[in-house]
């Protein structure tokens, strides 16, 4: 005999206290995905300064006249908040990659019994890689 039950709308975030590890993985994957596609549009916009640079446009950066592309990137990289946002971007990208690998494995039927543990492992590894990369991302920038 088949049984059905109403588990409610899974997108009802008001039920967050009931969410399982798999649900959190699903939410984090969506959140990081939104961040990454948003960033991709921003990234191409910033890199488009190469077009202005190719047309000979220049700008002043740290008292030096440089092309628009070099000036835009180095100007942004000189800001502390940009470096902090880059660390956040790395965390978001690393989690999306690790959880993405986990999802591909699930799709292939590999490690189905370890889905919860692999989600926790993705979180821990993301934390470790992010913390370890902080010195590199913050090198040479003042507050």
């Amino acid at each position: 005999m088949s049984q059905s039950y109403n588990r409610g709308l899974i997108e009802d975030f008001g039920r967050w206290k009931e969410f399982s590890a798999g649900m959190w993985a699903w939410i984090f994957h969506k959140f990081t995905g939104w961040m990454l596609i948003g960033y991709l549009f921003t990234h191409i916009a910033v890199l488009s300064s190469a077009i202005a640079a190719a047309n000979g446009e220049t700008m002043m950066i740290a008292g030096e006249q440089v092309n628009a592309y070099t000036g835009t990137i180095q100007g942004l990289e000189g800001l502390f908040i940009i470096r902090v946002l880059e660390v956040g971007l790395l965390a978001v990208a690393v989690f999306h990659i690790l959880n993405g690998i986990r999802l591909l494995m699930v799709d292939l039927g590999v490690g189905l019994t370890a889905q919860d543990r692999s989600f926790y492992a993705s979180l821990v590894l993301t934390g470790v890689i992010t913390v370890a990369s902080v010195p590199t991302f913050l090198s040479g920038v003042g507050l």
Partner: protein
Amino acid sequence: MAERYSSFTPGGTAWFLQRVTAAFLIVVLAFHFFLLHFVNHASEVTLLGTQQRMDHIGYFLTMVLFLVAGAFHGVNGVYNALVNQGLSGTPKKVVLAVLSLAGLALVAQGTYVALVMAEMI
């Protein structure tokens, strides 16, 4: 049975392409981050350095393919996430059209920038 949450219908073309681009992006995104933050620091990026990298046809093609795969994976992911939230009917068609245009515009602009960086135009 473990609960399975997915925004996609398994077996569909979008489902398949989302996974193919995912496998490609895992490798190239890791390479991109490593090359431009750990080998070359982002704060030291210059037009000359970018042009030198983009002059290598293999690197240029990898970056263009990276853009196309990233744009498709991102836009398709957003669309399916919205469908999963209950988007249907005319709003679904409008969202698909807007996202498709945004994705195509992103690829067009990105390819133009890549060609300029590689000094091909």
